[in-house]
């Protein structure tokens, strides 16, 4: 996640299945914890924590739903604007 920001990304989406369709049972809290850590780290550099999000479609497997949640996310990033402090 940090590498993406280091490379100049404006936002990072962690795209996963939803809890119902995930191949691995009961790992959501672990994924969330890792993502929260990354959010805290970028915050320390003054980058908005909201630039990292976990995206998962409501009931996985349907291509359009993935497209929709990704479109929503890029919309939110656009609202935040480009990172002004790029490499």
């Amino acid at each position: 996640m940090l590498k993406a920001f280091e490379s100049g990304a404006d936002g990072v989406a962690i795209v996963r299945c939803n809890d119902g369709t995930c191949k691995y049972r009961g790992i959501a809290h672990r994924v969330n914890a890792r993502v929260d850590r990354a959010r805290k780290l970028i915050s320390m550099l003054g980058i908005e924590a909201g630039r990292i999000e976990i995206l998962s479609p409501v009931s996985g497997g349907n291509g359009n739903q993935y497209a929709d949640v990704c479109a929503d996310f890029t919309g939110r990033i656009k609202q935040m604007g480009l990172r002004n402090n790029k490499l």
């Binding site: 940090l2 590498k3 280091e6 780290l41 320390m44 550099l45 402090n85 490499l87």
Partner: protein, 233 residues
Amino acid sequence: MIIGSQKSIDEIWNMVQDFKKVLVFGCNTCVAICHAGGEKEAETIAALLRMRAGQEGKKMEVNHLGVMRHCEPEYFDPVIDEVKKYDLVLSTACGVGVNFLSDRTGNVPVYPGLNTSFYGAVEAPGNFVELCAGCGNCILHLTGGICPIARCSKTLMNGPCGGTNKGKCEISSDVDCAWYLIVERMKKLGALEKLSEIQPPRNWSTSRDGGPRRVSVEHIREYEKQEEQKAGK
């Protein structure tokens, strides 16, 4: 083991900002176990520093590396030439490691990436607690295995102070009263009467008051000396 916690990125940045080539050097023993300074965390700090350098418009090369321990030369000897190529080493070992490495990097300064906190145990994954202060004169057999030096805020030796409050310390309701714990433990062990024996004032010369300490294990030293002599001939 030794517990440490990472310095803030601002503090680290203030230390390193004027260097051009920085190595974040992880230590994969104690401080790795407490998720503060292993190779993984060294990598994270290195990434944050590169980003910060970019934000500040500074040209800085930051890499990371990790070895098993910074407190024994055999572990870092194989990479010491590599380490010496940097302008600055930011060690994420404990203070012991920073000191020890610093003596062995020639002209390259070694700065600390962590605050070294205490000797602790893993109470629960991610939770580390201080249980020993390394005072050099252990009396745990007298106190039911609970150390009043490390765990009583006042380091009292003969029972609690007036600040004990329903098992908690007056400094914070999150801190247990060590003497409350000791009494409860001794009751359970059926050895409460042991506590009526008065402990004399402690001799602190075995602790920090006696200057830097050193332990020498004679039979290991003896062997080493002979090896050194042989090598000399």
